[in-house]
Amino acid sequence: MSDADAGCPLPPGEYDCVVRAHGGGGRLAQALLDRIFRPAFDNPWLATRHDGAVLEPGAAPLAFTTDTYVVRPIEFAGGDIGSLAVIGTCNDLAMCGARPRWLSAGFVLEEGLPLATLERVVASMRAAADRCGVAVVTADTKVVERGSGDGIYINTAGIGQIDPGLDIRPASVRPGDALLLSGDPGRHGIAVMAAREGLELQTDLASDLAPLEPAVRALVEAGIELHCLRDLTRGGLAAALGEIAAAAGVRIEIDESAVPVHDAVRAACELLGLEPLQVASEGRFAAFVAGPDAGRALQVLRGQPVATGAVIAGRVTSTGNGQVTVLTGYGVRRPLDVGSGEQLPRIC
């Protein structure tokens, strides 16, 4: 074996990129599992080589969520599709007040994907899983012919355990609640768009992708009366607030000048005609807490590495049917534009 072959994920004579047979269930599929997936995700559940993972959750209520990741490009400043697929799903569990425990991972690989890329993505998933305290306990791989995918799509489903007594959900939101933001929105969406061909955005902005569970845990442990949490993913803050206001039957008002927006995000939004409040984050969340707890919640959040830029950004003003109002810096109120969600590139 020459030096040039030393880093090859598969022995000579096999392939350095994904071929149809990798999804065929035969010898090559087994090689892919043994050489890439099992070593990366190594844990007792996978070691059983069973058809599924047997979980022993105990008596705690469970949160269960799933998400599919189709981001393009698959590697961007601050993350890649692998870390996104793990952290994104764990964040959804965290928003239910759950501690993420177990993940499944389903891979759709496009014929021709370099195995080196797959290895990087899978290693990045493992690193992210370790950060989140979860194990990938079951996985599946399919291969589609060249041209039918964008290199790699990943679905993850996650299960988390909820501490007794927590009732974090949209229906718990009520008039008088304060709305906190864990930080400036939109970095993920802009970082991904900047990495795309054809958009000549030059920025060193990185995605805000980060596990949110520690910040949620800190709020819970500080005894903050938490009513609802929502990560600001697709559709950004605007979509999140619109959904919660509608689900909770309330009116929400946000104070536009209180919402911090990174200069690079603002500049890119000006250029592309986007609203920063509609641009996705993968490491930011909105928290609805009982009004009197707002100040304390803010201090707790600012003590968390992922939420040092937290702010009190608004309030639940009354019952209603889903209206979200923006108080502009000029003292004028207008409805929040939630956007139609179209024409946005794939960012998650």
């Binding site: 004028v332 409805p335 534009d337």
Partner: protein, 365 residues
């Protein structure tokens, strides 16, 4: 972004709003010409900071909006031809013509591509020498230099498979057309800052003089807009009617001479139909005879619309003349939304209906 922040400063906005309140003694009606200004006004809500005597009408300055459906129909017909690739700005794809939009033409198998500018369309032509590439050229004086540059370059490089379906328009004759309407209420104009950046101010002086209307070239940020409004109101209160320049950080009296000479070299003034106005004398541009080879209509023959125009419930014609506020339309936010637009003023990010939908909500004002 520091540069823009000054023009969004809440304290400056509050000072200007107070200044305007102290200035106004009578009712006045102003029109902001440009759709970008309309969006700036409605988004920031500065119309609500004005005293009740001051009314703002939203003008026709949305290039997608004033493009008549016949032009879209022609583009749709061209897109259906197997040898033709139609290139267009993204907004334009979704504007309904009388028989569907360019998105539908693409779904039906037509080669329709979104580009960011005319030079991108020229690049498509260079890369696909076996395709007939047609650029749907819409827009005001601001965008015409880009089309002129693409045509001039195509001529210089002898790119023979490139042509433009020209629907370029000029603002000044449209202001005269507005003032000539029997139900005209406009007493002063905020002229579109970016158009003046190219063309300068000279074209506006005769209009101000002849019709006794103040015209203030105005920018797009809240402070710009309030300054422009204050300047126009001060003239009205003093009984003056002249051309002023609020947007002096970008607009020079003689505009951008290089851009103007480029336009001049490639285009000549022509009559042009505007949605909501009919044909306005001198309100558009056409290619000069020397560039006739790049005129899509000459190249591909006179293009008849494939379908008879259907009666539309869309009131964009009135909206574009400032005769109807978007939220007074019975279709607004009921049958007509940005997702299912009945007309261009709901599609375009410069359209007044789109601004009201986004920033006033489905209930309107």
């Amino acid at each position: 972004m520091k540069y823009l922040d000054e023009f969004r400063d809440p304290a400056a906005v509050a000072r200007l709003a107070a200044h305007i309140r102290s200035l106004v003694t009578r009712p006045w009606t102003l029109m902001e010409v440009c759709g970008g200004q309309t969006h700036g006004i409605v988004r920031s809500g500065i119309d609500r900071l004005l005293p009740p005597q001051v009314s703002l009408l939203h003008g026709p300055g949305c290039p997608v909006c004033v493009t008549p459906s016949g032009v879209i129909d022609a583009a749709v017909v061209l897109a259906a031809r197997p040898e033709v690739t139609v290139c267009s700005f993204g907004d334009m794809l979704r504007v309904p013509g009388s028989g569907g939009d360019l998105i539908a033409a693409r779904a039906a198998g037509g080669d329709v591509r979104m580009v960011y500018g005319p030079l991108d369309a020229l690049e498509v032509a260079r890369r696909c020498p076996d395709r007939e590439v047609v650029f749907l050229a819409v827009g005001f004086e601001t965008t015409i230099p880009g089309t002129a540059a693409a045509v001039a370059r195509a001529a210089a490089e002898d790119v023979r498979n490139f042509s433009v379906l020209c629907a370029h328009v000029r603002v000044p004759p449209a202001l005269e057309a507005l003032l000539a309407l029997p139900d005209n209420r406009v007493q002063a104009f905020l002229a579109a800052g970016h158009v003046c950046t190219i063309m300068g101010l000279a074209e506006y002086a005769p209009i101000a003089l002849r019709h006794r209307v103040p015209i203030v070239a105005t920018g797009f940020e809240p402070v710009d807009l309030l300054q422009g409004i204050a300047m126009a109101l001060a003239q009205l209160e003093r009984g003056q009617a002249c051309v002023e320049n609020q947007y002096s950080r970008l607009v020079r009296a003689d505009g951008n001479p290089d851009a103007r000479s480029l336009i001049q070299a490639v285009f000549q003034v022509a009559d042009r139909p505007w949605r909501g106005f009919g044909t306005i004398a001198g309100a558009g541009f056409e290619l000069r005879p020397a560039f006739a080879a790049f005129d899509a209509e000459r190249r591909h023959g006179r293009i008849a619309a494939a379908v008879e125009p259907a009666a539309s419930p869309c009131a964009s014609a009135q909206v574009l003349r400032g005769a109807m506020r978007p939220d007074r339309c019975a279709m607004f936010a009921t049958r007509c939304t940005p997702e299912r637009p009945l007309g261009p003023t709901m599609v375009s990010p410069e359209g007044a209906c789109n601004a009201y939908f986004r920033y006033r909500g489905a209930a309107g004002a």
